[in-house]
Symmetry: C2
Subunit: 321 residues, 2 copies
């Protein structure tokens, strides 16, 4: 490398692009190696327009962000998507939110269009990575994140990296059995955590309690704020289910940190006491190790940060080997 080029090289900002593909929004952000957000765009996800349109939107969002940093070095692109990512092939499997992309070589299609390698990751895994990098998990090498939304997702960070398992399907925390004869789940199981603690589960409890028709999780939160006894019971039931799953996780992993995030988090004061009571009762490990159970701090940005971090991490891994 010539002297002038070398100087330019050393002065270039290295950045990475993180993408979060949700059921309603597609966001892309440029983030530098120190975790500084350089740029962010958000477009509506137009799933009804079909697979090609979704791929188009992803590609043009990335290109749009990239064009603003023409002189800088792009470390890579990470994309968080709902559903199982089959690591070897880059296919998406079992994504209820994005059935359009199922059984299709998503990674290869985007790489071909962009002309640059991308890293595909499950959205909850990306969020866990983001919290580890820039959120509540800074300084911790091992943590579990639960995302409490319409469903319940999970990401496990082990020795600073996403725990993938051998096909890339690990971390399905929403499908821990909390009650073997509980509510049926689309996965084939009965009593999945997701069917007893997600927003949808909370709404279904309002129905079985005859609390009202078409109440949202937010409505049930508002009723709890007003002290409505049935609403309070619902959040306690939700907290117990979480506590049962958390106790099993703590007994299995003995990690120092378990994080909760997602749309249900504002109801923390209503569900957390029952959750912690269950954990204390059900986990000898919790009672004997200083396990922290805390709120995540990056909110819906976690997935973007995590997706952007993945190319930086891949670089480091490459240097080590």
């Amino acid at each position: 490398m010539q002297g002038t080029n070398l100087l330019r090289y050393l002065h270039m900002t290295e950045y990475s692009i993180g993408v979060d593909l949700g059921g309603t929004n597609l966001r892309a952000a440029a983030i530098d190696k120190e975790g500084k957000l350089l740029d962010k765009i958000s477009v509506e996800t137009n799933l009804g327009a079909g697979r090609d349109a979704v791929i188009n939107d992803i590609v043009s969002s990335i290109s749009s962000v990239r064009s603003k940093f023409a002189g800088q070095r792009l470390a890579g692109v990470g994309i968080g998507v709902p559903g199982f990512i089959i690591l070897e092939t880059g296919y998406i499997l079992g994504s209820n939110n994005l059935p359009e992309l199922e059984g299709f070589p998503v990674r290869d299609a985007i790489e071909q269009r962009l002309g640059t390698p991308i890293i595909l990751e499950n959205d909850a895994n990306a969020a866990a990575m983001g919290e580890k990098w820039m959120g509540a998990g800074r300084g911790v090498e091992d943590l579990v994140l639960m995302t409490l939304g319409t469903g319940i997702g999970g990401g496990i960070i082990s020795h600073g990296r996403v725990l993938h398992g051998f096909r890339g399907m690990a971390g399905e925390i929403g499908h821990i059995t909390v009650n073997p004869t509980g509510n049926p789940c689309g996965c084939g199981n009965y009593g999945c955590l997701e069917k007893h603690a997600s927003a949808t589960a909370v709404e279904s409890m309002a129905m079985v309690m005859s609390l009202g028709d078409n109440l949202t999780s937010r409505d049930i939160f508002d009723l709890a704020v007003k002290g409505h006894p049935k609403a309070l019971m619902i959040w306690i039931s939700m907290g117990r289910a979480l506590g049962i799953a958390l106790a099993t996780l703590i007994n299995l992993f003995n990690y120092p940190l378990f994080l909760l995030s997602g749309g249900q988090l504002p109801a923390w004061d209503f569900f957390a006491p029952a959750m912690l009571e269950e954990v204390k009762q059900r986990s000898f490990t919790f009672r004997n190790a200083d396990t922290r159970i805390e709120k995540a701090t990056l909110g819906s940005e976690a997935g973007l940060y995590g997706a952007a971090y993945l190319p930086f991490q891949a670089q480091e891994q490459h240097k080590e080997s």
Copy 2:
């Protein structure tokens, strides 16, 4: 190093000593780097004689094995014990089988007496490591072992190493909640796997089924062989509990291999069909990834092999860093 010494060095067999401290037996073995068993001794565990006697027995067993290989290089000593090992301090916590050793600096006491560093490990973790090294897990980097005995222990191997968690308490598979209102457990929980699938649990089911007084798990196996309907139901119930826990493990880890070992294994044909039926039903991941659920192959030797392997692994780790 002089030429002659170097030659002698190169011709020395490097070996390691593995110890398995059980409730009834204390075994010690010399094993070489290729996994060849060079020597093995076994003495009765005399817990009634008190802590000093137990430590004495451990130290003299190790010394006895060591004395037979005076000219060889000892890579180190690994000891598998029941209970939680607190990694930092080398204390044992919550060991029902060895209350004598609880809250006592076991590791330091043995190291001082032997004058050589030792590695203390939970017995089920050691067994999982043994199966990975020389048993059913050869060639696999990630696996889970469940030991089905009087209780249920577990060991998780992640990237070829024992998953410890931050205090060393990870892998408590026997305390996965399989039924939140199930049998009470000494750990404080209700419905631990151990309380529904261990030999003790099987025996308690014979009691609630009025199958007979003081029947052992072996008796109930024999009755199942004869086709006794209540005995068959007990093994099905045990298998279902195992299946519920396995489904949760598969959903969390997505590992390629899950192994079962221990005294209950001969009843495989009676419990495994119900177990696999539950797993198929309850785990989307199992149905979509080629997960193997198999019998471990080293039997009660697994812990000895795993304990002996730990010093070799520590050497490798040392070389890498």
